[in-house]
Structure formats: C-alpha cells, structure tokens
Amino acid sequence: MLRFVLRRLALIVPTFFGVTLLAFALIHLIPGDPVENISGERGMDPARRARLLHQFGLDEPLPVQYARYIGHVLRGDLGQSLTTHDSVAREFATLFPATVELAFFALLFALVVGLPAGVLAAVKRNTVADYAVMGVSLTGYSMPIFWWALLLILFFSVQLGITPVSGRIAVQFDVPSVTGFMLIDTLLAGDLDAFRSALSHLVLPTIALGTIPLAVVSRMTRSAMLEVLREDFVRAARAKGLPRWRVIVVHALRNALIPVVTVVGLQIGLLLSGAILTETIFSWPGVGNWLIHGVQSRDYPVVQGGILLIAGIVIAVNLVVDMLYGVVNPRIRHA
C-alpha cells in the first residue's frame, strides 16, 4: 500500500509540469493581453503600454516567463491577480469553500437519487421503470448545463416562486464567514432563518450541477448490477432463501459498487468543470465563476493558479478514490 502511494506521489511531478505548462500555454494562446484589457476602445501611448507590460512581467520571452512562474510556484507563490492585485492563493481560498459546498451537494444528490434508480432499473429490467430511469438519465446526460439551469430558474423561481434565483443566501443575511461553508457558518451564527435561506439557495444549483453525475451514476449502477445479478454467488444467496432485498443490497450492490466508485471519482473533475457554468448562471461566488472572469480579463496569474490548484485537488481526490478500492473490494491489493 505504501509503495502504491509513493508511486502515485512520484507521478505528481510530471503531472505538475504538464498542468502548469498546459495552463500557461493555453492562457497565453488566447489572443489579447491584460494591458489591452485595461485600455478598451481607448488608444494607449506605446511607451505606456511598454511600461505596463514590463510591470506585469509580460515583456520577456514566454519560456523565461514560464520558468519564472514555476520558480515562484515552487516557493509557494502563485502571484497576484492582475485586476484586483490581491494574492491568487487568498482569493482561491476565499472562494473555494463555496465550490466545495456546491459540488458536495451535487454529488450527494447524484448518489442518493442515482444509486437507488440504477438498482431499480436493474432489478426491474425491461419494465416501464427501467425505461423511465434510463430515458430520464439519458436526457439529463445530454442536457447542456446552462440551458438546464436557466430552465430550472424560469420554472421554479420565476413561475412558481418557490426557490431563489441565484446567489448563496438572501441578501438580508450578513453571516460572518468562519469556515466559508455557508451551511456551517449560518449554524455557527445560530441563525436558523439564514440556514434555511442558504439551503434553499442550494437546491437549483445542486440539481443543475448534479444532473450529469446522476445520469452517469444511475447508468453505471444499472449495468454493474445487471452483471453482478447474474453471478453464481447471487444465485447461491437466493437459493439460501435470503430475503430479496438482502440479496440485492448486501450481496449484489456491494460488489456492483466497485466500478461505480471509480466513476464517482472521475466525476469530481467533471463536477469542478461543470461548476464553472453552474456558478456563472447562479452567481455562485465560487472558483468557477472566478476562473471564467479571469479568462475574460486575461488575468494570467488567476487562471494559471486556479487551474493548478484545481488540478492538484482532482489528483488528490483520485488518489484517495484509488485507495478506497481496497476498502470496497478486498480482492484488490495495493501491494
């Protein structure tokens, strides 16, 4: 197990260079630069333009800029935003809990609804229930997030008026940020109305972001279950006369979960990228919203730093997921 972890950790080095190089190259490939972004329709005296480029460190050849950037990153310095001039790491830390909160609930939603739906579809194979689950999940999977999100807002918030349109909490609540997680902060502040407001603000973004993972989880659970249900040990369990639910949940589902766990691990990356769209539409003050704005304003340090941090988190989560296999499935040994 230790050797497995060490080997995986060693892989982080090339991944780090790959991610930083990719982020650096991509943002520099986008036309325009931060100085152009300042001037807009206004002309800019070439001398002043040169001075600003120098000040932002953008007047040097790209390889030099990249090397300097890596040097700073290795010393733990992700730089400053070119628009707010605040530290990238601090901005990320302020906004990341909002993204985690949203992604957590989206995943929870996907699992709580997706697992039973997948099991139901497998057990009732080729019935109306199966077709319904598969049809809905295929639709969900194919739905563009921004469109689905707007549809949710228009129906639940504008037509029915039962959910708020956007944001994390109603504006009348000014809850001090302790953990950055709104649900926890509102409870720490002892304000139940604020908690309820925060919870109601989570509903639509959770559904919008959780729909695709939900579809993936239910389809994966269904196919894994179908396979496991054909296995001898399931037949043996049935033959023993165990109750049907026990065979399905304890014998079949536990084994079917292995591929599902893998897929769920991969969803973390998808959740974070899906969060970019979801956050933009729901004005959710998380890192996705922040990254989009960074790209629009050519805020190089924000985009590079943000991508690097998110990539690091995705790698870490996947490592944990790989280690979890051993727990879920004793047959896999990381020797």
Partner: protein, 538 residues
C-alpha cells in the same frame, strides 16, 4: 410538527418568527441593486471600469465638482465655487465647509474635509515621490494616465484651508469636466496617515473612507457589497437606510431576480428582454440617450480610402435607416456627427449623406473605381453599448455596398485581438465605437480623431487633418463654453466633408426597476446613483 416538539422549541420558533418579522420591517429601507460584476477593488483612483465606479466612487466618494444627475452639466460638489484665471491656466476652487468623512473600526476622523485632502488625493496620483504613490504594489493610476493629466496639470497649491488652486501647463477648458470624473475622487489624508502610523497603510485602499452618501459595510467577493446611509452626508442623508449590491453576472438571472423581487433595480437589461419587461406591470423601464457613437472607420492611410470621394461614396451607399431598424430595433438614433446630439456643441445643421446608390456610383467613378473594388470589412465580435450586433450590421453594409460594386469581405477577431490589431493600423475598414467619459465634446474629438490619437491607436481611421486639429485644440484652450461650441460646430463641418467615418448611430441605454422604486434618475455617463431613491411600501 409543532405538536411533537417540546416547549423550548416552540418558544424558539416563535422567537425566530418574530426575528423574521423584525428583519422584514428593517429591510423596508433596504434597496437591492443587481449589479453586473465585482469591483476590481475599493479604491477610486486605481481602476477604470464602470462596474468599479458604480461600487466605489459613486456611492462612497465625491469630487470637487460633479455632473448634475441625468445631464453632463457641471455643478458644485466638494467645491462650492470656482474661478478660472483669464489666461485659462489656473483654476481656483473654494471648498465646502463642514463636509464629514466616514468612519470605520480603525478610523474616527477628527477633522472635516479641507484643502489638505485635495492636495493629498491629487498628489498621490501625480507625484511619484509622494509616500503613498507606490503604496499598493502593481497598482497604477490608470484613468489619470489615460486622460493625460500629467501633461495638463502642473501643480496644485493650497491657498488656505478652504481654497486650492490647480495650475495648468496649458489652457485646457475640459479640465473642469475631468475633475468631475471618478479618478478625481477625494480621499481622506488623515485616514491614510492614521493607517500608516498603525503600520497597515494598505488597509486604507481596501476599506474605503470617503465623503459620499453611503458608507462601506462589508464585501463578500463575487456575492454582495453592503453599504449604509451616511447620516452626516453634506448633500443630505439618503432616504434609504441600506444599499446592497447583489452581484449577478448573468443578465437573464438579473432579470429573473428583478421579477421575483430579489432586487429592485438591475443593471444592463438585455435588449431582447425589454419588450417583456415593458409589459410587466411590476416593472418600470427608464431610457436615456446614450453618450456614445457607433461608427465605421476608413483607414485613410490605405488605398482607396486616401481619396475622400471614396469615403463619401460609401457614406452615400450605406442605408442607415435599415441598420437602425434591424440592428438597434428602435433603441438608437441615426448619427451624422461624431458626437451625440445630447452633447453641447453638436452641429444640428449638418446634412447627413443621403442614402443614394446612384450618387455613390458616380463618386466612385470619379475617383477611378467605376467597377468598385474588394475590401476587408472588420466587424465587432461582441455586443457593445453603442452597437448591439456587429455581425448583423456588417451583413447589411455588405449588401448595401455590393449594390455599388464594392465587394466587402467580412472579417473579425477575438475582441481583445480586434482592438490590439486596430491600434497598429492593420485595418482597412472597421466597425468601432466609443462611450464618452465626461460629457465634454473634447472627449470625443481628441481621442477619436485627433492627430496624437493616431500614435496611441485610438484614432482608428488614422485621419490627421490640420484645420480640424487646429479647431479642436483652439476649442480646448477657449474658456467660454459658447465660444467652444462654435469651434466644435466648425470642426464637425470638416469631419462631415472629409468623411473619415460613416457615423452610424447613438444607442439608447436602459435601466429596469421595480415599480416601488421612486426617485431614480438615469445618469448621463452611465453610472448608477441611489442617494435620491425612495422605496414605497410594496
């Protein structure tokens, strides 16, 4: 549910309920504004975007002079009156007495606003040796630089505690309008000195202290900005108690929040939503003629546009009415001059080039292009305040020009790239536009058509005309507005005849609000002011 809970929980629920009622009573004086983005920071001198001005300089700061809301007339603010030296090279401001600064947890002002604050605020931008000039690493005084203030103002002198004099390097009539702009906001010298003594000088740029109608309360990045009314505001305490900016980048979400009452005023409604908004009995739409111009610029350094007959020909060949209908959908007015008619100095007597393809063909033949020519037409890749749909406009122009034999190929680039290329003079014909900063005609003519602006790239037609240049320079150095207006009127005759552009349209701006909002007036320079707003009981 309540039946099964114990007594304490019931008491708690009742308390929570009464807290909720109390909150909604207190919230009556709270206006929520759905703004379009986060401010870059809370310092009025560093930044140059409207979003930041709306969040910083507008609610929390004042200038020596200000624009009367809804117009570009300059009226007293922190200066009660001013005089201009006969040679136009010195402006003496008499300052208002009894103007209080805000306070916060780290700072309680011991004195009112005076001349020291004016000198401090100005020198912080102008004087590189001033200790606060380089306080925040990486920050520049962008707008101050953009407006070329270093070449205009020589120094600021304190005559006495309530009199300051700005000594200019040259006569510059637009100077007064410049002083009403956001970057000229007045900071508290005492605040910066106090924070310096406490060892946290940077905090003064993060937690703003101004003299404006609202005080800063808190900011949650990308989510909300909170302000409260400043009781001691010299212009009279605002009628609302609290002002909250609910940052909502998506225009559709802003509209939805306006409908559900999650905010009462929204920034920048989508033109496509206007009709639906008008038919909603809960909403009111305000409109304001924009301080802007959308235009097509010919690069006069390139053939065949070095010949003014060709430029005039294409002016005749372009059907502006059709563009206004199809692109602006009634939310714009046809342009015949570089400045909009709401600006003083507008030459109403100019006769626009009539849509006349036959005349256009004749002019092209005279210029030696009887069979027309091929040309690249650059069009805007994004929606801008002065042009809602660049592509559609380009298609219409392409069809118009085809009728006179000019075969336009439509080209565009990513927006930042588009601007970057335009500044190098790569374009032959391009679509562009401008939104005015300060309501002075100088702010259109000089940055867009002046000879200096060819170098900086703001003059995308790269047209540099001596008689025109002489007129606008003379106008800038002439003190009286009526005299200046005459010079600008003459300058417009030259622009019309020389035709470096096809002026297309001045667009109309809209704000959407809920019916319970009273006393809101749209501002001419596209800022959003809330100090005169009242909320009726819904």
């Amino acid at each position: 549910m309540i039946k099964r809970t114990n007594r304490r929980a019931v008491t708690f629920a009742v308390m929570a309920l009464s807290a909720l009622t109390a909150a909604s009573v207190a919230a009556k004086g709270t206006l929520v504004y759905c703004s379009e983005g986060s401010p870059e920071g809370f310092q009025p001198q560093f930044f140059s975007t409207g979003t930041t001005f709306d969040a910083v300089s507008v609610p929390m700061f004042n200038r020596l002079v200000q624009f009367e809301i809804g117009t570009t007339n300059i009226v007293p603010a922190l200066a009660e009156s001013w005089t201009v030296a006969p040679d136009g090279k010195a402006y003496t401001f008499k300052l208002r007495k009894g103007v209080a600064f805000h306070s916060n947890a780290n700072f309680k002002p011991t004195r009112d606003f005076d001349a020291d604050d004016v000198l401090f605020s100005w020198n912080r931008m102008a004087d590189e040796s001033q200790p606060f000039h380089k306080l925040t690493a990486g920050q520049t005084f962008a707008y101050f630089d953009d407006m070329g203030m270093k070449n205009i103002v020589d120094r600021v002198e304190k005559i006495d505690d309530y009199t300051v004099r700005f000594v200019l390097k040259r006569p510059e009539a637009p100077f007064l309008a410049d002083m009403a702009m956001d970057f000229a906001s007045i900071l508290s010298k005492e605040y910066f000195d106090t924070m310096m003594k406490k060892g946290t000088p940077n905090a003064a740029d993060v937690y703003p202290i101004g003299t404006g109608p609202f005080q800063f309360v808190s900011y949650q990045k990308d989510a909300t900005i909170r302000y409260k009314a400043f009781d001691k505001y010299w212009g009279g305490r605002p009628k609302i108690d609290n002002l909250i900016y609910s940052i909502t980048r998506d225009a559709t979400a802003r509209y939805a929040k306006l409908k559900t009452g999650e905010c009462q005023v929204m920034a920048f409604p989508k033109p496509a939503d206007l009709d639906a908004m008008r038919s909603d009995p809960q909403l009111a739409i305000q409109r304001k003629e924009g301080l802007n111009i959308g235009y097509i610029a010919f690069n006069v350094e390139k053939k065949p546009f070095d010949d003014k007959r060709v430029r005039q020909a294409l002016n005749h060949a372009t059907n502006k009415d059709a563009i206004l209908k199809a692109v602006y959908q009634g939310n714009g007015q046809a342009a015949k001059n570089p400045i909009p008619p709401i600006l003083w100095g507008y030459n109403a007597a100019i006769h626009d080039y009539a849509y006349d393809p036959a005349k256009a063909k004749e002019l092209l033949a005279q210029a030696g292009y009887p069979n027309g020519f091929d040309v690249d037409l650059w069009y805007l890749p994004v929606t801008r305040p002065y042009n809602p749909d660049g592509k559609r406009m380009a298609e219409l122009i392409q069809a118009d020009w085809a009728k006179v034999g000019v075969r336009a190929k439509l080209i565009t680039y990513e927006w930042a790239e588009y601007r970057k290329r335009s500044k190098t003079g790569e374009q032959t014909v391009m679509m562009f536009g401008w939104s005015g900063d300060n309501g002075d005609p100088d702010n259109f003519f000089v940055p867009l058509l002046g000879c200096e602006a060819v170098k900086g790239g703001g003059n995308v037609s790269r047209w540099c005309n001596k008689p025109f240049e002489d007129l606008v320079i003379k106008a800038a150095q002439t003190p009286k507005q009526a005299d200046r207006a005459k010079l600008y009127e003459q300058a417009q005759v030259i622009v019309h005849d020389e035709a470096p552009w096809i002026p297309i349209a001045h667009s109309v701006r809209f704000d959407a609000l809920r019916k319970e909002v009273h006393g809101y007036t749209m501002d001419a320079t596209a800022h959003h002011y809330f100090d005169k707003v009242e909320l009726a009981a819904p």
